[in-house]
Amino acid sequence: MRIGIVGAGNIGGTLATLFTRSGHEVALANSRDPRTLAGQVAALGPRAHAATAAEAAAFGEVVVLAIPLGAYADLPPEPFAGRIVVDANNYYPARDGRIAELDSGALTSTGLLARHLPDARVTKAFNTIHWEHLRDLGRPDAPAADRRAIPIAGDDAAAKAVLTDLIDQIGFTAVDTGLLVDSWRQQPDTPVYGAEVSADQATVLIAQARR
């Protein structure tokens, strides 16, 4: 599968490694000239290439966003049309600036992104796992019950099915948090956020979230 990754840092770079290892083609972008990624994509091998954010979006059937959340408004919506977008971002006001609709709970952070990308099939995943755990804890050969859970959310069931399969390939197990309006249950400061747990444990932690 062709996967675009916007954000080449801790999370984006780690996912680029995991997805190329699983046999996928990856276009990797940061905020600058793609040439700044030459060394990183060379290390990823022949399945990876550097791109601009717009090119990565156009390239991917699935496009992961792993950037500081406050930068979402920089993304050009057009190339994301029809794409399965996976939002790994978290809202940290100290880094991202205050966003009133998120502070009030009127919108989830992924809901905010979905509003910016109206023609994309927006999902949320990878936001609750520390990047080193993402790098190290995948167990593609282990049964689902022995794997670490990764909560996902989204309104498009077919998109979530694709995402669930990708998560399975890199050795984790996806747990469905619900629709984008439910995705506050996996945002920072909820029980499942950062929790190193199995799918069953994640299920109960997601059910336990309060706001």
Partner: protein, 88 residues
């Protein structure tokens, strides 16, 4: 309404009310996803006044139909005195 009856309603399957009490709610049993668990606990709370997620921090109560039933029975009337009053 009993826990098995609530479960049957949430699942939209009347037969679920007659499942063996030892049936696990999560993997190895009904395999409820978090969305369904959220709905189940909301219904349990509305029917019994027992807020399982609030009271059972490990949610051991969710192991099986029997453990959830026992948990709800043990806390019925204590969690919400206003509701418990009408029952005694």
């Amino acid at each position: 309404m009993s826990v098995p009856e609530i479960l049957a309603r949430v699942l939209g399957d009347p037969a679920a009310a007659a499942l063996p009490a030892g049936t696990p709610l999560l993997s190895g049993g009904l395999g409820l996803d978090s969305v369904t668990v959220v709905r189940l606990l909301a219904e349990v709370r509305a029917e019994s006044g027992v807020d399982v997620a609030d009271l059972d921090l490990d949610l051991d109560a969710l192991a099986t139909i029997a453990s959830l039933t026992a948990f709800v029975e043990a806390h019925r009337g204590t969690a919400r005195p206003d509701r418990g009053l009408g029952r005694s």
